[in-house]
């Protein structure tokens, strides 16, 4: 039943969707241009052909409508997977997500559930115009009732997509679009793995400093760890995978051991995921911390023009600079 294939990150998601469509006929995909076009990133390529127009639905151009009708479909027993075309276009659906999707189970005391997955290609570095490079994950994770995740590898993309669709909770599935074309071997098939939606993954072990990242910045953190290794510094890289909930136990376990922590994400630093990590780590590792938690993140400015995005985005150099600062304490 299971096999291993070399897949791009995007294709791994496609296969996760396909596996879910095959195993549960209540699963359906909704979004703009996901049918014949296969989505602007081709993540749903071929799925409408294989599963039909009733299960892979080209919707009207209205994000609130997509999410609102997905909630209704979920109440009727379906498991809609909604594609938001780009990060910056999720906000028209924000009300439905925040006041309805997140709260439906709670409002009904568990009598109904709305297992909707929202796929959002996010993050920068692809040379795009405004609204096409943002990282709004913190704007969702603050709201109870939503799960927020972001895979960093094709294998996780595949596994976490299947787990997200199987989850009884609404899941915001942030896909690091800059990684769509990266490739790796992916083990396909088999049962949906446990825990991938709420546990961090140690992407590289180390002793001197912990780099915490998720989604697109895991690759950055790993490159920084390589550079650090060359200089004799051993960095551990923790890939959060889940942003709500954060696997604080795993992060704290690492940081209490290394004594230093650098968080890396593309979203602005102010009130970003790094703030929560810093707050938790400073608490849990109060006596072990050798330096304050450093944050390497986007700036408090709208995502800039493409010509400047590489100055805005956390780079390997900025991570190294932060590690230097942490080590200098």
């Amino acid at each position: 039943m299971s096999s291993t294939q070399t897949l791009t990150f995007a294709r791994a998601i496609t296969e996760g969707l396909r596996a879910s469509l095959e195993s549960d006929d209540k699963v359906m995909l909704m979004g703009e241009d996901i049918g014949r076009l296969g989505g602007v990133f081709r993540v749903t390529d071929g799925l409408q052909k294989d599963f039909g127009e009733a299960r892979v639905v080209d919707t009207p151009l209205a994000e609130s409508g997509i999410l609102g009708t997905a909630i209704g479909l979920a109440l009727r027993g379906y498991r809609p997977v909604c594609e938001i075309q780009f990060d910056g276009f999720v906000f028209p659906a924000y009300d439905q997500i925040t006041t309805q999707l997140a709260k439906m189970r709670y409002r009904s005391r568990g009598r109904v559930e709305v297992p909707v997955v929202i796929r959002i290609p996010y993050g920068g570095g692809i040379g795009a115009v405004e609204h096409h490079s943002e990282s709004p994950e913190a704007l969702f994770a603050h709201t109870a009732g939503l799960r927020v995740v972001s895979p960093a590898t094709p294998q996780d993309a595949y596994d976490m997509m299947r787990a997200a669709i199987a989850s009884p909770d609404p899941v915001l599935f942030f896909e690091p679009k800059g990684r769509y074309w990266s490739k790796a071997d992916v083990a396909l098939g088999g049962p949906v793995p446990d825990g991938v939606l709420d546990s961090a993954r140690v992407a590289r072990t180390g002793d001197d400093v912990t780099l915490v990242a998720y989604g697109p910045t895991v690759a950055t953190a790993l490159k920084a760890a390589d550079a650090l290794a060359a200089e004799g510094t051993s960095a551990e890289v923790v890939d959060l995978r889940a942003i709500s909930p954060i696997d604080v136990t795993a992060v704290a376990e690492s940081v209490c051991r290394t004594g230093r922590c650098v968080v890396v994400h593309e979203a602005p630093s102010f009130l970003g995921v790094g703030a929560e990590i810093a707050a938790r780590v400073s608490d849990e590792c109060f006596y072990a911390l050798e330096a304050p938690v450093q944050r390497v993140a986007g700036f408090h400015a709208p995502y800039p023009v493409a010509k400047l995005e590489h100055e805005y985005l956390p780079s390997v150099d900025r991570v190294l600079d932060a590690v230097d600062r942490a080590l200098a304490y």
Binding site: A62, S64, G72, Q100, K103, G110, V112, G145
Partner: protein, 386 residues
């Protein structure tokens, strides 16, 4: 059809717009060319049917009165009356098949009554004891939605689910299903309601948009939401639309029945504007004397939908004093049960505020719940000590 010079805030619009009416305010049947098909639908109704509607309207009004009193006594945090809208609610709800699904707003007490939702459960939300209060799947009635207009999309999505279940156009009246969603005149301004019309039209979804135009959105008259009669809105989306006298229970029943028949058979969505009046305040927190005048209220008091059905029953020998007295007694008993039931509602245990946030464990919730439990245990006696 008849032109109803209503004297409401959009008199001008009402003056020129045909309003489906089957029973005149004096209780006499309206006979005109346009209403023929609808008249046929109500011709089938027996006196017992009409009495059942009357009973539902009376009990709905009693529910209103009791709930309002309970709020004044501090037993409820808030309450939103349906007074004046009983015909629109009860009439349309009588047209529903058991397998149909309802997405109400927050004022559809008459609809919930007809569907059989427990009256005490219906007040849990207004007591501040529950955000919902009943099991949506028990009577096919979704919970009240307080964010104006949002649920119109849920209704449309639900209807798309019914299509996918193959339960439209089966020809089997016991299986064909549809959705009715209720919202107000104010709600028509929300993007979500308009997007719902887009999705419903494009998908030909079996959903009836039942707008109760009660002429006010809190303090704003309908003229602040639209410059043309609200039913026109549906037409712009290609959704068949109709304006019905919302104080005429038979017209509301017939129009809803027709719309549901269309939906059941695969004919797609319908938009209904039930032109009615909010006789009471917006909610118990509201003071309508600040924004509307007595004359208007008085005008509409004289077009009370309950009285209109009484007049019809009397005119057609459907009235019987014993029956009427029994109904009063039933209403009294109902009121008493409601009062007792509401007063008996306690508060849920504090710890339940962590329940059902997620369907599976979530570390953040688990940690906070644990902390809370320990804190509660530790401080149980402490407050005295401080």
């Amino acid at each position: 059809m008849k032109i109803d010079a209503t004297g409401g805030n959009d008199v001008a619009a009402a003056d020129v717009t045909p309003l489906v009416q089957l029973v005149a305010p004096d209780g006499s049947r309206v006979v005109d060319d346009a209403g023929a098909g609808l008249r046929e639908r109500v011709a089938r109704l027996t006196t017992a049917d009409l009495r059942a509607m009357y009973r539902d309207m009376v009990l709905t009004r009693r529910f209103d009165d009791e709930a309002t009193a309970l709020q004044r006594q501090g037993e409820l945090a808030l309450y939103a009356q349906s007074r004046g809208q009983e015909a629109a609610q009860v009439g349309s709800a009588h047209a529903l098949a058991p397998q149909d699904y309802v997405f109400p707003s927050y004022r559809e007490h008459g609809v919930l009554h007809v569907r059989g939702v427990d009256p005490v459960d219906r007040l849990r939300l207004y007591r501040g004891e529950d955000h919902g209060g009943w099991d949506p799947n028990e009577h096919n009635v979704h919970l009240y939605t307080l964010v104006i207009g949002s649920h119109a999309l849920h209704a449309t999505g639900y209807a798309m689910g019914i299509q996918r279940d193959g339960l439209v156009g089966t020809g089997d009246a016991g299986r064909d299903a549809a959705v009715v969603t209720y919202f107000g005149d104010g709600a028509t301004s929300q993007g979500d309601v308009n997007e719902a019309l887009v999705f419903a039209a494009v998908n030909n979804a079996p959903v009836v948009f039942f707008c109760q135009n009660n002429q006010w959105a809190i303090s704003e008259p309908t003229t602040k939401q639209s410059r043309v009669p609200i039913y026109k809105r549906g037409e712009g989306f290609g959704v068949p639309s109709v304006r019905v006298d919302g104080n005429d229970v038979l017209a509301c029943y017939a129009v809803a029945a027709e719309a549901l028949e269309r939906a059941h058979s695969g004919g797609g969505p319908t938009f209904v504007e039930a032109y009615t009046y909010r006789m009471g305040a917006h909610t118990t927190s509201d003071d309508p004397s600040r924004y509307r005048d007595r004359a208007e209220e008085e005008h509409w008091r004289r077009r009370d939908p309950v009285e209109r059905l009484e007049a019809l029953l009397r005119a057609e020998d459907g009235w019987d004093e014993t029956w009427a007295a029994d109904l009063q007694a039933e209403a009294d008993a109902y009121g008493e049960r409601l009062r007792d039931g509401v007063r008996a509602l306690g508060a849920p245990p504090a710890e339940t505020m962590f329940d059902h946030v997620y369907g599976t464990e979530h570390a953040q919730v688990a940690a906070e719940q644990k902390w809370f439990r320990e804190y509660e245990a530790a401080t149980a006696g402490e407050e005295v000590a401080r």
